[in-house]
Every structure is written in structure tokens, then in C-alpha cells.
């Protein structure tokens, strides 16, 4: 009887330890914001920037939306059960005189629990954006 109780207690303690260990790590999260790359692209319309921005944000974070009709794009990472997201990024497209545009990347993360730092997110966005043709 006592042995059974001790076994149950030990098993429950393991369960608590797992949860508390995970939760303990998330309690040390900090806001991480990075000013990412700024690239000038010649001979392409700003609509091309819009398309690439949308696809890059979806590819890296999962979601993308343009703020009105501004050529400014916002993406957010996966949402947890409580409706919270721990990673986000902005891609700004601005048309230049003649043809071409400038694009900038700005990223934010709360890591942990976000799996990647803001710096990594911005690098992935820039790579994904530049790799599209």
C-alpha cells in the first residue's frame, strides 16, 4: 500500500518537474528586436517587392498582411493556445524614382519561447526575399 502510494507520488513529481522545468525557462524571456537588412533593388516595380515580402513572411513566420495599401508588410509567428505569438517582423517596401525599390526588414522575438532570435528571423526573411525570382 505504502509502496504504491510512493510510486504514484514519484510519478506525479516527475510530471510536475517536467512542466515546471519548461515553464521556468519561459519565465526568463526577454524582448529581442533587430534592425535587419536594407536592400536597394533596381529595375523591378514595387509590386514585385510586395509579392516577395508576403511570400517571405509566410515562409518564415506563417502569416503576412499588408497594412492598408502602404507596401508595408507585417508577419507574425504561430499562435499558441492562449492566442499569443512570440515572433513578428515588418518588411517595408518603398518605390524609388524611376524603377526599383528599397526594402527593409525589422524583426522582434520573445525568445524563449520563440524558437529563433530576432536576428535569425531577419536573416531568414532577407534570404527568402532575395532568393525569389
Amino acid at each position: 500500500m505504502a509502496r504504491t502510494f510512493c510510486t504514484r507520488l514519484a510519478v506525479a513529481a516527475v510530471g510536475f518537474a517536467v512542466v515546471f522545468g519548461l515553464a521556468g525557462r519561459s519565465a526568463q524571456a526577454a524582448l529581442d528586436v533587430v534592425v535587419g537588412a536594407r536592400n536597394v533593388v533596381q529595375s523591378e516595380p514595387v509590386s514585385s517587392c510586395d509579392s516577395k515580402a508576403s511570400r517571405a513572411l509566410i515562409s518564415v513566420l506563417g502569416r503576412a498582411a499588408e497594412i492598408g495599401d502602404t507596401h508595408e508588410w507585417k508577419g507574425a509567428g504561430a499562435v499558441d493556445a492562449a492566442g499569443s505569438s512570440f515572433a513578428a517582423a515588418a518588411v517595408h517596401c518603398y518605390p524609388l524614382d524611376g524603377t526599383g525599390y528599397v526594402v527593409t526588414f525589422t524583426c522582434a522575438a520573445q525568445a524563449p519561447p520563440a524558437p529563433e532570435s530576432a536576428s535569425v528571423i531577419c536573416s531568414q526573411l532577407a534570404d527568402n526575399f532575395g532568393g525569389q525570382h
Binding site: 512542466v19 534592425v35 536594407r38 497594412i67 499569443s84 517595408h92
Partner: protein, 223 residues
């Protein structure tokens, strides 16, 4: 239910209980504000940078340019309750053939930060090019460690009145350690002190918080 199934059920229940217990900690999230942009037909990149720095410093601290002459500026809030900044704003200036364009992007950590990213970005942008400024709530500061002689805490060093050389160091977590390395615990409710040290003892804290007596102990706070 066989023993193995029962064990799995216990683990599941424990995990669920732990998750429920820690649910409030999981509510934090990153709030990003994007979309405020201003085009100026006049002015140089240096003009934009000067205004960017001043606008950021009006609400945040340590405004800096990511690299000299880049026109990319970033600043953050003071430390929140967790000891790290909970808000950051980025102002990026881009020189045009005539004038410049500037964008504003802000991120805050909720619920630790007392205001949203939109409110911060709107204020920084309005400071830059003019507009109504809405007061932002102060960032909650980390709880300071009691430094001694605080009547609501015993944290600090206590000296025995009748045993020369004997001192007690009481910390924020309720631990007490004497000058010979023997440890115990302390508790305070009103003016009643519970000292677990070679048994349980009940003492009374004086009104000025500088003395406690009882149960064979007489201690004075070393401020």
C-alpha cells in the same frame, strides 16, 4: 485500470495541473506596430536622423544608430519587472533624391509593458513630425531588494544582544544563516517573527523594526 495505465493517468493529471498552474506565465506575447510612414520633400538624411534620435529619446532610452550614417535608429525602454526592457522602437530614415522617407516600427512585450506598440509608435511619430502626444504609462520597475531597517521585512543582518559575535543574515527568500554557517528559516506576520533555528521560536519585532525579542533571543538589526 491496470497499474501502467494508472501511472500514465497520474502523469497526465500532473502535467495538466502544472500547465493550469503556470497558465498566467504563458500569456505573454510580442506586439508589433507597423505602418506609420512619413515622406518629407525637403531635408537631408542627417536632418531625419537628428529628428529620429530626438523622437526616440523623448520616450525611450539609449537611442543609437545601428551604424554611423545608416539612418537606422533604435531605442528601448527602461527595464521592466523582469529586469529587461519591455519596449523597443525603430526609426529608419531613407534619403531620396529630394528629401527623405521615414518609417516607424515598434515592438512591446505584453503584458509586462504597460502600453501597446501602436501607442508607442504613434507618440514617436508625432514627436517626429508633429501631432498629439498621449502620455505613456511608466514602466513598472523591478521590486528592489529591502536594504535593511524596513519594518515590513527582516532582510538584512541581525546581531545578538547577549551572545557576542553571533550574527544572523536573513535573505529575501526566508533563509537565515548564522555567523557559524548554521541555517534556518524566518517568517514575519505583523510583528510576530517565526524563527526556525534549532527548533521553532516566536519573537516580537519592535515598532521601529530594529529589534526583536522572545524565546531566549534578543537581536538588533545592523543597518
Amino acid at each position: 485500470m491496470n497499474p501502467r495505465t494508472r501511472r500514465v493517468a497520474i502523469v497526465a493529471a500532473a502535467l495538466l495541473a502544472g500547465v493550469v498552474w503556470y497558465a498566467p506565465a504563458a500569456l505573454a506575447s510580442v506586439d508589433l506596430s507597423v505602418g506609420i510612414r512619413k515622406l518629407s520633400d525637403t531635408g537631408s538624411l542627417a536632418d531625419c536622423s537628428a529628428k529620429a534620435k530626438a523622437s526616440l529619446e523623448a520616450f525611450l532610452v539609449e537611442a543609437s544608430e545601428t551604424s554611423p550614417g545608416s539612418g537606422d535608429w533604435i531605442a528601448h525602454s527602461t527595464n521592466g519587472v523582469a529586469g529587461t526592457p519591455t519596449a523597443t522602437a525603430v526609426v529608419r530614415c531613407l534619403a531620396l533624391s529630394k528629401g527623405y522617407v521615414v518609417t516607424f516600427t515598434c515592438a512591446v512585450q505584453l503584458p509586462d509593458n504597460p502600453y501597446g506598440a501602436d501607442a508607442l509608435c504613434l507618440d514617436v511619430a508625432h514627436k517626429f513630425y508633429g501631432g498629439a502626444i498621449t502620455a505613456l504609462a511608466a514602466i513598472p520597475t523591478p521590486t528592489p531588494m529591502p536594504t535593511g531597517c524596513a519594518t515590513n521585512s527582516l532582510v538584512g543582518t541581525w546581531v545578538s544582544d547577549d551572545k557576542p559575535g553571533l550574527t544572523f543574515t536573513m535573505d529575501l527568500t526566508g533563509n537565515v544563516t548564522d555567523s557559524e554557517g548554521v541555517s534556518g528559516n524566518w517568517g514575519l506576520k505583523g510583528t510576530t517573527v517565526t524563527l526556525t533555528y534549532y527548533g521553532n521560536h516566536t519573537l516580537t519585532l519592535s515598532a521601529d523594526g530594529k529589534h526583536m525579542h522572545g524565546d531566549g533571543y534578543s537581536l538588533t538589526r545592523k543597518c
